[in-house]
Symmetry: C2
Subunit: 310 residues, 2 copies
C-alpha cells in the first residue's frame, strides 16, 4: 500500500483593516485540501487539481503547492517521489489566502508523511517561497495564520518575527466573496509609495489598539481599531459596491468590516454567531441585488491551523 | 486658615520609540509640584515660580499651569480667587513632559481643593489645552500618562480614545537629560509630511508588538518593538552624541533606548533596577566625556499619576 495523507488548510484574512502586511487570522472554513502520496519513482508531480476551473498551473514549479514542497524537499532527506492532488475549496484571486492554503496543506502533508522531521513553525519559509511564486513577494500575513492558526502579528520581516495574539471565544468572522477577480499584484500596484504622516499615526494607533483589544477581550475597542486610513480608501475602489456592503455590515451589528487581503472578498468581525449570520445574509444581498454572484462563510477563528484528514 | 494643597505630577516619556504621538508613560520621578491656595479675592494669580531659572511666563494665561486652571474653572462652579505656586522639578524643553506635569499638578490641586467635582479622567481636556499653549498643538501623549499614570495608548484624537496598557513589575526606565534645549515646535517642524509606506508598515508592526509585549510580560519582544524607523532618524540629528549614547545603553543591557518626547532627553527601558542603574551611569558618562552637563534618573513606571502631598 502506498503511503498517502490528506490535509486541510484554512482560508485566512490578511491585513485585518488597519494592519496592512502585519496582521492575519485563520478561519475554520472554507479551505483547501491536498492529498500527497509517496511513490518510488523519484518524480514529484501534480496528478490532479479539482475545483480551480482549470486555471491553476499543473507544473510543480509553478504551482504554489508544488513550490512549497520543492523548497521543503531541499531541506530534508528524501529521495523518493511524490504525487500531489489538490482539491481547491477556496476561490482563486479572492483575497482569502487561496495560494497560502494550498501551500500549507501540501507542505504539512509531506512533512507528516515523512514523520515530521521539521516543526510546524519551521515550515513557514517554504510557504512564503510559494507565496512569492503566486503573488510576487514572500508575504507571511496569509502564510503564517494558515500554518499556525489563530490571530498572528508579523512584527518584522527582516528578521522574521511572528507574534501569536490571543483569540477571544466570542469572535466570529464573516467572509463575503463577490465573484470578481482581483490580482494581488494589481492590488499592490495601486498603493501609494508614500503616505501622510498623520494617516500613518492613525494607523499605528489602531494596530496597537487592535492587539490590546484581543488581550483585553474588548469587542468595542476591537471595532474602533479596525479602521484603515491608508489601504482601504485606495483598494476599495477596485471592489464594486464596497461602501454599500461595508455600511450594511456595520448597520447589521458587525464590529468592523473591511477588505480581506487584497480583495475582492470582504470580512466582517462580529461578537457572536447570530450577528455574524445576519451580517452574512445582509451583505450577500447587497451583491445579489446588484446581480453579482456571491458566497458567504461564517466561522469562528481557527486556532489549530491545518488539519490532518487521514 | 486659607485652604491650600500641594500636588506632585510626574515626568512622562512620550512616543516611546515606535509610537510617535500614540504612546506615553509616567515615571516615579522627577516631577513638578504645584501649590494652590483658595482666596476670596476673585483673582487667579501665579504668586511664585521656583526652579525655572526665571524662564516661565508669570501671566496666568501664558503659563501651562495657569491655562489648565483657567480652562478648568470655565466648567466648574467657583467664583473665588486662587494663588498658584509652581515648583519646577523638571527641566524646561527637556522632552520629559515638563509642561504637562505642571498643568496636571495645577488642575488636580484645584479640583481636589473644590472637593473633586470632576473625575480625574475628565481633567484631561484642560491639560491638553495647556499643552496647546506650550507647544502649539493639543497633544495627549504626555498629558494622559501624567494625569492617569501608567502606560497609555492614544488610539485616536478625533474622538479622543485612550487605552491604558498594563505595566510589567520588572520594567525600569532610565531618563537621561543632556543640558541642551530643543523646542518642541522646532522638533515637530523637521518631521516629514509624508513617509514611505514600507517604513510605516515597520512602525505599525512595532506599535502592535509593543502593546502585545506589555500584555505578554515579554521583555525581549518589548526590546525588539522599540525600534523607530520614522521619527528617531530625523530628530536624533538635533541631539549631539545620540548614536553613541544609544549604543552605550544597549551594550549595557537596555532593552531599547530612544528619544523621550521631542528630546533632547533619552529614555532607556530595562528589565531590572541593576541594569537600569548601570545604563544610567554609562550613558551619563558619554555626555560628561563630551563636556555636556547631564542628569540621569532611574525609576519604575508610575502607576498612580499625580500625588497629593498635603
Amino acid at each position: 500500500m502506498k503511503k498517502s495523507i490528506e490535509v486541510f488548510a484554512p482560508a485566512t484574512v490578511a491585513n485585518v483593516g488597519c494592519g496592512f502586511d502585519i496582521f492575519g487570522f485563520a478561519v475554520d472554513r472554507p479551505g483547501d485540501r491536498v492529498r500527497v502520496t509517496l511513490t518510488d519513482t523519484a518524480k514529484i508531480e501534480i496528478r490532479k487539481i479539482t475545483g480551480d476551473g482549470g486555471q491553476l498551473p499543473r507544473e510543480v514549479d509553478r504551482n504554489t503547492a508544488g513550490v512549497a514542497i520543492l523548497n521543503y524537499l531541499e531541506k530534508v532527506d528524501y529521495s523518493g517521489g511524490l504525487e500531489i492532488e489538490l482539491i481547491k475549496g477556496l476561490p482563486l484571486g479572492s483575497g482569502m489566502g487561496s495560494s497560502a492554503a494550498s501551500a500549507v496543506a501540501a507542505v504539512v502533508a509531506v512533512n507528516t508523511l515523512l514523520d515530521s522531521p521539521l516543526h510546524r513553525e519551521d515550515l513557514l519559509p517554504f510557504v512564503m517561497a510559494a507565496e512569492k511564486t503566486a503573488c510576487g513577494s514572500a508575504h507571511a500575513d496569509n502564510a503564517a495564520p494558515a500554518l499556525l492558526g489563530g490571530f498572528v502579528l508579523i512584527r518584522s520581516y527582516q528578521p522574521l518575527d511572528i507574534v501569536r495574539l490571543p483569540v477571544p471565544d466570542w469572535l466570529y468572522c464573516v467572509l463575503i466573496h463577490p465573484n470578481i477577480e482581483i490580482r494581488t499584484a494589481e492590488a499592490r500596484a495601486i498603493l501609494p509609495e508614500k503616505v501622510p504622516l498623520s494617516s500613518a499615526i492613525s494607523q499605528w494607533g489602531n494596530t496597537a489598539a487592535l492587539a490590546a483589544a484581543l488581550y483585553r477581550d474588548d469587542p468595542e475597542l476591537l471595532g474602533r481599531a479596525l479602521q484603515d486610513a491608508i489601504v482601504e480608501p485606495v483598494r476599495s475602489r477596485l471592489i464594486p459596491h464596497f461602501e454599500q456592503a461595508q455600511s450594511a455590515a456595520l448597520t447589521a451589528g458587525a464590529l468592523g468590516c473591511s477588505i480581506s487581503g487584497s480583495g475582492p472578498s470582504l470580512f466582517a468581525l462580529c461578537r457572536d454567531q447570530n450577528t455574524a449570520d445576519e451580517v452574512a445574509e445582509i451583505v450577500k444581498n447587497v451583491y445579489i441585488k446588484n446581480r453579482i454572484r456571491c458566497e458567504s462563510y461564517v466561522s469562528q477563528i481557527n486556532r489549530e491551523g491545518p488539519r490532518i484528514l487521514g
